[in-house]
Subunit: 101 residues, 2 copies
C-alpha cells in the first residue's frame, strides 16, 4: 500500500441545474486537505487528491477514504481538520458526515 490513507475528493462539474461537487467547492476541499496534511507533515503517508464523479452527486460535496472505503457527504471546508485529525490520523471516522453506503 503506497499510502496509509488515500482520500479522493470529487471535483466533477455538471451543468446547472444538476447539483455537483465541482460547483460545490470540491476543488477548494482538495486544497484544504493538501494544506492540512502538509502542515502536519503527513503528505508522504496520506494523500488527498481530486477525482471524477464518485456516484454520490446528491450528497455532494463527497469524498471517499481508502482503504476502508468510507464515503462522506456534504463536506464543508471547516470539516477538513476534523476528518484529518479524527479519521486519517486516529482511525475514527466522523460519524455525522458518513454516508450510509
Amino acid at each position: 500500500m503506497k499510502f496509509k490513507k488515500h482520500v479522493f475528493i470529487c471535483t466533477n462539474q455538471k451543468d446547472a441545474p444538476k447539483k455537483s461537487c465541482g460547483t460545490e467547492h470540491g476543488l477548494a476541499l482538495v486544497e484544504a486537505f493538501k494544506q492540512e496534511l502538509t502542515q502536519r507533515g503527513l503528505q508522504k503517508e496520506i494523500r488527498a487528491q481530486r477525482t471524477g464523479c464518485l456516484d454520490a452527486c446528491a450528497f455532494g460535496p463527497t469524498l471517499v477514504v481508502y482503504p476502508e472505503g468510507t464515503y462522506y457527504g456534504n463536506v464543508q471546508l471547516n470539516d477538513v481538520s476534523e476528518i484529518v485529525e479524527s479519521h486519517l490520523v486516529n482511525d475514527q471516522p466522523v460519524e455525522r458526515l458518513k454516508l450510509d453506503f
Copy 2:
C-alpha cells in the same frame, strides 16, 4: 463499502517534456474500463473513474485498485480486459503490471 472494487485511473496532464498519464492515453483507459465493466454487467459493483495525479508519473499510465491499494504502471489499452478478468473479477492481481509500492 459502496463498491467491491474501485479503480482510479490517472488522467493528469503535465506540460511537455514531463511525462504524464493524461498525455499517455489516461482518458482512453477510463473509457476502456467503463466499457468492459458495462459489457460484463459489473458497473454497479465495480467502478472505474478518472482521477488526478497518483504520485507515480514516471510509471504512467498508472492506476490504483482499492480497497487493496494495488498500483499498476505502463498500462496499455489491451491490458484492460486482463485486469478486469484477473484482478477485478477473480482477485488475482496482474503481476507483470504491478508497481512495487
